[in-house]
């Protein structure tokens, strides 16, 4: 049964979850939150690789399940714990600890001015492909990535399609009353 989770509570001062507490203790700038029953920790983007190494070595998080980014240029309402400066981009990394059978989500705010985040391929080699995809579609460069090239778009493609300011390049369809390209 999918359990009914309570509404996202504001993060009280010391996080209830032990992993979040450990991360907050180890990395002072990070703030823990809880979203629909899942533990989320907002960390400073420079410390992303160190947080990942900490999770892998001390907290036995065996796998970085997914790395992606979100462009909040046109987001109407955003749920952010207080104390986190809302930037345009958010890099989101999900981790899974098989032995402890639990997940944690690390979110780092990335300013639009210089969208650079340290790479996690040193800690988890499995993040090579998703980081290339995030660079390719959203333009967030992962410094230290062994092969920082495009993965999905043709190599001579200009621009990053998933950014909110890039239109969907909808080709005007020729039937009457076709939706105008938003």
């Amino acid at each position: 049964m999918t359990t009914v989770d309570d509404a996202p509570r504001e993060a009280d001062h010391e996080p209830s979850d032990e992993v979040a507490a450990a991360v907050c203790a180890r990395f002072p700038g990070s703030i823990a939150a809880e979203s629909h029953g899942q533990v989320v920790v907002h960390v400073d983007r420079a410390a992303l690789a160190d947080v990942a190494r900490f999770l892998r070595d001390e907290e036995r998080f065996t796998t970085c399940v997914d790395i992606t980014a979100v462009d909040h240029l046109r987001t109407a309402a955003r749920v952010l714990p207080d104390g986190v400066t809302a930037e345009r981009y958010e890099v989101v990394a999900n981790f899974l600890a098989h032995a402890r059978n639990r997940r944690v989500r690390i979110i780092a705010q990335v300013p639009a001015a210089d969208p650079v985040v340290p790479t996690l391929t040193g800690v988890y080699p499995g993040t090579g492909f998703p980081e290339r995809e995030t660079y390719d579609l959203l333009g967030i460069t992962f410094e230290g990535h062994p092969d920082p090239t495009r993965i999905l778009m043709p190599d001579d493609w200009i621009g990053h399609p998933l950014r909110k300011d890039t239109g969907a390049a909808r080709v005007p369809v020729t039937f009457k009353g076709s939706p105008d390209p938003r």
């Binding site: 999905l152 043709p154 399609p161 890039t166 969907a168 390049a169 909808r170 080709v171 369809v173």
Partner: protein, 179 residues
């Protein structure tokens, strides 16, 4: 002296019918499965809806041995040059079936990544609707192509194009001349 120069009269009519009949019954498709339509294309080739009954015995992998390219699935921007290259490398005479709405017109993905209709790249003979088209729909499309081969005139329909491939400018597709 290819068959183009053969005068079109009652002496050569039987020869053309023989050639058309031969071509119609031995069309070999090239495996050009891209996305979900590829699974339905393989299902059409498999036991239940056997394509071999119509002379399409086997899906040839290399374009050198294929007459028909079934574009099964959505064609992305990165795949367009590859599709054009494989089409150019196919031997004459060659036909193209655009299988599924994504190949025919970009389908539900009207965005930056999908070529809105494969007829921008290669001249298409038969468009098969559906997403994905069931094996029966594809078979109907293939039989329509067979009729086209059987009744259409032999050579002259395809204007020789500068790029060598039999590119049609879509405006003036001459009606098939009565043989």
């Amino acid at each position: 002296m290819g068959l183009d120069q053969v005068p079109h009269n009652f002496l050569t009519a039987r020869l053309e019918d023989l050639v058309r009949w031969g071509r119609r019954n031995s069309v070999f498709p090239a495996t050009f499965g891209l996305a979900c339509c590829a699974l339905e294309m393989m299902a059409t080739g498999a036991a239940h809806y056997d394509l071999a009954r119509f002379g399409m015995e086997v899906f040839r992998a290399s374009p050198r041995q294929a007459d028909l390219m079934i574009v099964a699935g959505r064609v992305s921007q990165k795949m367009a040059p590859v599709l054009r290259q494989v089409y150019d490398q196919m031997v004459e005479p060659k036909w193209v079936i655009s299988m599924g709405v994504c190949a025919s017109s970009g389908g539900m993905f009207n965005n930056y990544a999908i070529v809105q209709g494969v007829d921008q790249i290669v001249p298409v003979d038969v468009y098969v609707p559906g997403c994905p088209p069931g094996p029966e729909t594809l078979l109907h499309g293939i039989l329509t192509l067979h009729d086209q081969i059987r009744t259409g005139e032999l050579m002259r329909r395809r204007a020789a194009s500068p790029t060598g491939g039999a590119a049609i400018d879509l405006g003036a597709v001459p009606a098939p001349a009565a043989s």
